[in-house]
Symmetry: C2
Subunit: 429 residues, 2 copies
């Protein structure tokens, strides 16, 4: 980690910048795949699965017997752990469901909003060596709670054409049964445009590599919504004198092991804590199975000494981290200083992995500075809020004249007429 | 309007399609303007304002004396009308502010969310012959209520270099004082990248022509958020036997007068109501100042006879209209059938123009079928929801083992370590 001591504020902007990648070639390639799937549907899906996932599938749809087999091959201890996480995630996301009051803005004029689940949603779960079943909980549980009628899941098969049993277990547990063996940009295209086998959805959720991310960005132009724009995962730890260096180091490393492009930042007003955390990082790094990946991420990471805790928060708000850990016994007092962050972990015992898996908060969060203008995934991400209004005759008589004057001033005569014709009919009664 | 009688369901998809436009040339032109403003800042702004708005400005910033002059030149009756609208919009949007409970998902594990206003937001108000001051209320009021610290407004000057007094009055009324004389794609670029005069913002709101819409679409790739994707404005009216043809016609026309590309659809299960509404449209059209525009919009519009009210709602949900008027005495009973719509107007006295101006609901709504996966602008559009969590020692002991098992199964050892190191420290106490 690069150590920076008391950088002047003019230098902060550079310190908060994320690396930028040239994307022209990527865009072209992904757009080609999208167009191909739009035109050739399942045929294109089978072709790209053979090309990228190295398996010639007969079927895209995961069968009931495959799910049944998975149920028996997941260990009891993992099942129990997943059940604990599910209960907490369910409890927190269910609490986000609001029934709003009807507001009478003027006598006879009632306005309200209703939350309605988005009809059809698609979840994407990346492949790779490890099964990222936790993301199924984070997306599937709120989708179910929101009342989405059709929830489908796409995830790439391994070379034997199978999906990891933990993925199937988690999906089945949250009630998702339409699972398709397809990954990458082709999976996003399939959900955006629909194929003979895979239904079209209105909104797509979930993480992925650069191809998936680019595909999600591009399909928005064709009317499909996405959860949020994405970038590499990141953590910023603010530590004061009451932070615990070994804990801090473990949190920095749990972010660093995600990928070589992970962003890891430690800011502190205490030089000793900073120093000790850095040597703890070196110590703990040695025994990690994903040491090489973590090491690469740490090369781009920064440990920054600042003058005060307040300055630490000022820096953090400018950075707008996906995850913000406040490593301090006074974390709760500092919480009010947070202006830009995806999810905040208060105190020495609130490690990021708690929120990644089981505390109940969602782990699909805005990266890349998007915490300045985006929220993480929540129940509302799977809903629309529809506004309703009802005017009685009296209500229209109360606000109608104001509408007539405003419409006239905006030179929209037909807008005015819609009121006038109604008010006149009431005069004649 | 094109009349369609009892179309088979296979034909519905075509009937719900919006016209598509080729955008390649537009994209190139707008991208050029964006890049130019990003590089040359104010200099580029002055250049494009001279080119497109035909005025060589000395200053972009609207001065206090210009605002003061506007205050006195708006009629008292318009001021009063705007004040009535403001009160209703404020009342409804203030009711959207929620303080959420802290949820203890497991003993010692507390999770909650906090609404925080987006620091810096930019509002865009189009120019043209008429001053669209109503949109300032719809965007400025929730921005203020949300606690956004910096709210700026961009709107193009007329050929004399002035902004219409009604715009300045409405802006001043809602507390917006940073107003800049700039329109088109160059205004969006200025707010996305910042110039010497115009501050950079994190999210941009507001309607506009195709250049503005394209610019908003493109600047998202550089990290600026926008309110929602946009298309031409639209209304769908569902009328049953208790609908009133002259009212229905006035609503169809108030949508049609917006622009030649406006989408206007009437569906009914009553052939007589449909027929009478169509002749009322012809009658009312004759006296409209914007007759030519409305007529063009009506050429692309449809009046569809269906077999039942339920079928009307099925069609409407597939179309997903921006505005849905339920022209029926039983509108409230039907409200539950609405699955996809931006804003719904219940009953014969709830005309769309009520919601456009003064009932209290927002008029910035999803068009182009986006009501399937987007909500209209609300207080939340100007906020982020930040999640917080706090685990006590006991809390970590309660869920820690589950996290360890899940992290191990996802092969993320450092995630597990962050828990283990803390649990071990507690064993040693």
């Amino acid at each position: 980690m690069k150590k920076v001591e008391n950088p002047p504020k003019e230098a902060w902007l550079a310190l908060t910048k994320r690396p930028q990648f040239e994307q022209e070639e990527l865009t072209k390639l992904v757009q080609f795949i999208l167009n191909d799937v739009k035109r050739n549907k399942d045929k294109a899906i089978f072709k790209y699965t053979e090309k990228f996932d190295k398996v010639a599938l007969q079927e895209l749809f995961v069968s009931t017997s495959e799910i049944d087999t998975a149920m028996t091959s997941v260990s009891e201890s993992l099942k129990q752990a997943i059940n604990i996480a599910k209960a907490n995630i369910e409890k927190f996301h269910a609490s986000q469901n609001s029934v709003e009051a009807v507001i009478e803005t003027t006598e006879g004029v009632s306005c309200w909003r209703k939350n309605v689940g988005i009809d059809k949603v698609g979840l994407y779960i990346p492949g790779g060596s490890a099964p990222l079943f936790s993301t199924i909980l984070m997306l599937g549980i709120p989708a179910k709670l929101a009342g989405c009628k059709e929830i489908i899941l796409c995830t790439p098969p391994n070379k034997e054409g199978n999906i990891h049993p933990a993925i199937l277990y988690a999906a089945n547990l949250v009630g998702i049964t339409k699972i398709f063996k397809v990954g990458g940009a082709q999976a996003i295209a399939a959900m955006a445009y629909g194929t003979e086998t895979i239904p079209q959805v209105y909104k797509i959720f979930g993480p992925g590599n650069q191809f998936v991310t680019k595909a999600k960005e591009l399909i928005q132009q064709d009317g499909t919504a996405i959860d949020m724009p994405a970038g590499p995962s990141e953590v910023l730890v603010i530590a004061d004198t009451s932070g615990i260096p070994s804990f801090i180091a473990s949190d920095l490393l749990s972010q660093a092991e995600h990928g070589a492009d992970s962003q890891v930042i430690l800011v502190s007003n205490d030089a000793a804590i900073l120093e000790q955390s850095l040597s703890e990082v070196q110590k703990q790094l040695e025994v990690l199975p994903r040491k090489e990946i973590a090491q690469k991420a740490l090369e781009n990471s920064k440990a920054i000494l600042l003058r005060s805790v307040e300055e630490c928060f000022e820096f953090s708000n400018q950075y707008a981290p996906e995850h913000l850990i406040i490593a301090s016994e006074n974390a709760s007092d500092y919480a009010a200083l947070v202006q830009n962050a995806g999810s905040v972990f208060l105190g020495n015992y609130s490690c990021e992995s708690a929120g990644d898996y089981a505390s109940g908060t969602n782990h699909t969060l805005p990266t890349n500075g998007y915490a300045k203008n985006h929220s993480g995934v929540s129940l509302e991400s799977f809903q629309k809020k529809i506004t309703f209004q009802k005017l009685t005759k009296q209500g229209l008589q109360n606000i109608g004249p104001a509408i007539e004057i405003m419409a006239e001033a905006e030179e929209l005569q037909a807008h005015k007429n819609a009121v006038t014709i109604r008010l006149n009919s009431l005069k004649n009664v």
